[in-house]
């Protein structure tokens, strides 16, 4: 039943599965909907939609499908021309009872017939045709529990099929649904388990050992359970060329924030110099050397940035892109200092590997930090690299040689 509705929901981007659809069929079979469309509307929503941010899309899909007419603007406009806003019809309770809710198919069929017969022009009152203030199933401001309402944006009696048209849940809808679950599952692999807290876990090996030594009289040995004590320093490139990747970075950030208890984060622009920004607006900062000295070397460092910049920004004194900012030491040395202090450090790049590997700065930085794509797979690789840092670290001499060959970049590239 209503299989078309399933596909309408899909088309509106509501993630419905066959399982849920079958549950709905089961519910319809048991007569739970009470043959009322408004109950069906809420029941189907409870079964099919599992996140309030999809409620709005559901409403739109519902409106489209059960309205029965394609959102054909010309058609609606033509009908609206014939409709005038007139005084609403007042009915006594007894009269209202007489107006039974018609089955939807019949209503729609009726509507189609009326439409074809051209019954919609300037019609007021009455029981059959499209018009205003009547008891028919079509038109607006009328009284029929199963009415098809056209246009108007609001109804008088609120009992028409299109409750959905009100779109009450518009505020919960967000086209940027923060689905960070997959990222967090990936990040949850990033852990160092250390014993912590009270002695609350049975130490089986020692218990057996002690018990044996006790000639079989059980002796229980307790140990501290192990908790995740991962410490992460997240350093993110903001502004300029990172703008297009803002979304990916904020997703990573929100995932890290909720998954990693001990997370410190700082910002930079293009390259790290003597200051790291503590806020995204880059209004307050902390000396990079403080960060290096303050945090112990167990911190895992994750830099996020596109690593694409002019060679001068990386290799020159006062090379920073910001005009009023002076750096006495070339950016590459600051990157080297970070890497030297924190052995477990990686760089996540929102660009594809084939792109960042062709840029000169990308090549140089990936010689300092193992560089991975900011994708799920890339994140997985990066986490493995963080837990088992294995490649030899770049020496200061090599860095110096980058600077020496400043004017012969092809020698750095290959």
């Amino acid at each position: 039943m209503f299989t078309g509705f399933f596909f309408t929901l899909k088309r509106f981007g509501v993630p419905v599965s066959i399982n849920e659809w079958m549950t709905l069929q089961e519910a319809l079979k048991t007569g739970l909907t009470d043959a009322s469309l408004s109950v069906f509307y809420r029941l189907a929503r409870a079964i099919l939609v599992k996140n309030e941010s999809y409620y709005d899309r559901y409403d739109r899909a519902f409106t489209e499908y059960f309205k029965g007419i394609e959102s054909d603007d010309i058609l609606v406009d033509e009908i609206l021309k014939g409709l005038e806003d007139v005084d609403p019809l007042t009915l006594t309770e007894a009269e209202k009872r007489l107006l039974q809710a018609l089955p939807l198919e019949e209503v729609l069929e009726n509507f189609r017939k009326q439409w074809e017969e051209g019954h919609f022009k300037g019609h007021v009152g009455g029981d059959r045709a499209i018009g205003t203030g009547g008891r028919s199933t079509q038109g607006a401001f009328g009284y029929n529990p199963a009415g098809v309402r056209i246009g108007q944006g609001y109804g008088r009696h609120g009992s028409a099929i299109q409750i959905a048209e009100k779109r009450e849940f518009r505020n919960y809808s967000s086209d940027m649904i923060l689905d960070t679950r997959v990222l967090r599952v990936a990040l949850s692999k990033l852990r160092t388990l250390l014993p912590e807290g009270p002695l609350d876990e049975l130490d089986i090996d020692n218990t057996i050992d002690k018990t044996c030594r006790n000639a079989g009289d059980p002796e229980l040995v307790w140990k501290r359970s192990r908790k995740n004590k991962i410490k992460v320093l997240l350093i993110m490139d903001v502004g300029g060329s990172m703008e297009p990747y803002h979304w990916a970075v904020s997703k990573l950030f929100s995932a890290a924030k909720s998954q990693i208890k001990d997370l410190k984060h700082y910002y930079f622009h293009n390259c790290v110099y003597q200051d790291l920004w503590t806020d995204i607006e880059r209004s307050s900062s902390i000396p990079t050397s403080d960060v290096i000295n303050q945090y112990d070397k167990d911190y895992k460092v994750i830099c996020v940035g596109d690593a694409s910049m002019a060679p001068s920004e990386l290799l020159d004194v006062n090379g920073c892109i910001e005009y009023f900012y002076r750096n006495e030491e070339a950016g590459i040395w600051w990157l080297h200092k970070l890497m030297a202090r924190f052995p477990a450090s990686v760089w996540l790049n929102p660009m594809r590997r084939r792109i960042f590997e062709t840029s000169l700065s990308g090549r140089m930085i990936s010689k300092i930090f193992p560089m991975f794509e900011l994708t799920l797979d890339g994140l997985d690789e990066a986490i493995r690299a963080l837990l088992k840092p294995k490649r030899p670290r770049i020496t200061p001499e090599e860095i110096q040689s980058f600077i020496n060959r400043r004017n012969r970049p092809y020698q750095i590239m290959y």
Binding site: T23, E26, L32, L43, A46, F169, S258
Partner: protein
Amino acid sequence: MKKQFKGTESYIASDALSEVVNAATALGRPLLVKGEPGTGKTLLAHAVAKDLGKRLLVWNVKSTTKARDGLYIYDTVQRLHDSRFSDHDVSDIKNYIRMGKLGEAFTADEQVVLLIDEIDKADLEFPNNLLNELDEMSFHIHETDETISARHRPIVIITSNNEKELPDAFLRRCLFHFIAFPDEQMMERIVKVHHPDIENKLLAEIIKKFYWVRSLDSLRKKPSTSEIIDWVSALVSGGVDPRRVKKEIPFLGVLIKKEQDIDIVLAQANPY
């Protein structure tokens, strides 16, 4: 015909909510309830149990809760302890298996209401570990090689505060309802349930003020239903005049719990 849930004297359920509860009961599926804090997610289970006259079991989920805790616990340590003395029968492993809340609900003699409160507090994988148990309403005890299956499928109500997203596979098996924040008429009914004797004039002022406070966008934590009820109690027992509520916000601390928010409200209330 089975008894249908309609809300109780002290818990007003919207039509949508009671329909969903009844549907979940009829289909034997867990009902996942989300909504702003203080909209009565936890109370729903209490109300359902009361209205349908069923026993309520509450499983409070914490960050350390494991899915297995809800099924059963095999108390090895106790058994080991007891083996040193001869006053207990340690040969029967069954004596050391204790049912968790889910196990208790499955083995109950009659249908019960099981509330799994704040499922999002637990580990990311927690809901996934309960998939089969909630689907089949049965689980296996390895130690005794017994399968416990529900004699009467419990009415399972799960609440979530949206701290973590729940896995899709889990969501597919649930019915979902989002408790929207009540509108002004609904709120009036809710307050009247708790304070039947309240003066209409005072109530009108309170509700007006309350929705005004809620409309301030910059608030970190908007006051919710439970806060307005506390606020009304404070105002009623303090004998506050409706005119005073109109002019200022007495007992602001009952409504607003964060220092920064108090500053925001005061700044908005007295701009000069």
